[in-house]
């Protein structure tokens, strides 16, 4: 049975809050297939329109690259930058989970928790 919308949103928010509680994680967001941020938890001001668009570009590029080399679908995309990380994980129905972390984040922890969170988010998004 589908969850009431308020409860569903509450559970999505709680998952994002758990992810931003990890050391170094400054933003956790869900971006839809059109590049719009549908849910976000952040520690600092971020341009959500730009974030959503960038996430979709980044994810679709990675997806194409994976297909080009015969690796089928992307499960996780990591961008390691001078001052931190961006991680993307595809969810059901074209949604993407995005995490932004600073240099203090432990990649193994963030990746592990992200992978563990995806199944619940997929359930919540009706996957």
């Amino acid at each position: 049975m589908a969850l009431p919308r308020a409860e569903r949103n509450q559970r999505i928010e709680r998952n994002l809050a758990d992810l931003t509680a990890l050391r170094g994680v400054t933003t956790a967001a869900i971006v839809d297939g059109d590049g719009f941020v549908t849910h976000i938890r952040r520690d600092f001001e971020v341009d959500t329109d730009a974030l959503g668009a960038a996430v979709q570009i980044m994810f679709s590029s990675a997806q194409r690259a994976a297909e080009q080399v015969g690796q089928e679908s992307s499960r996780l995309v990591v961008s390691e930058n001078k001052d931190g990380l961006i991680l993307l994980a595809p969810l059901t129905r074209g949604f993407v989970l995005v995490l932004v972390a600073d240099a203090s984040a432990m990649l193994g922890t963030v990746r592990f928790e992200m992978k563990e969170t995806v199944p619940e988010l997929n359930e919540l998004f009706g996957g």
């Binding site: 432990m106 193994g108 990746r111 928790e113 563990e116 359930e123």
Partner: protein, 144 residues
Amino acid sequence: MHWLAGEFEAVAARAEALAALRRRRAAGEDVPRREEARARAAFRDRLGELVEAVSRRPGVLGCVAAHEGLLVAAAGDAPDFEAVAAVAQSAVLSGHDAADKLRLGDLRQVLVVGERGKLAVLRVGDMTVGVLAPEEVSLAAALG
């Protein structure tokens, strides 16, 4: 390694609690995701405490915990913790291979000893723990 054995037992208990929840879910039981998230956090926190505690033992240079070769926790002093995490994972894979070929049973520990230092690698749950020390340090004494 009595001291370490006790510390590992505490972490392993949390790893087992998490594994038990996963087994129940795999068996089709409706395990609340929240319960699993709490078990994961408890395991992660205790693992972080273990890494900190190990790194403070006399003679130990540093300690890391890693998942699939990527850093989960690090403490102490090492030139490159990420490299230690990656190498610890490789050591575990090699160790598994050796233990398997020689029928030694489940892998418990891998010890790499160089001219200047040593690395002990242990497994707990899904995680790998690496302990770095200078070559002359007895890890049995440091962690016992």
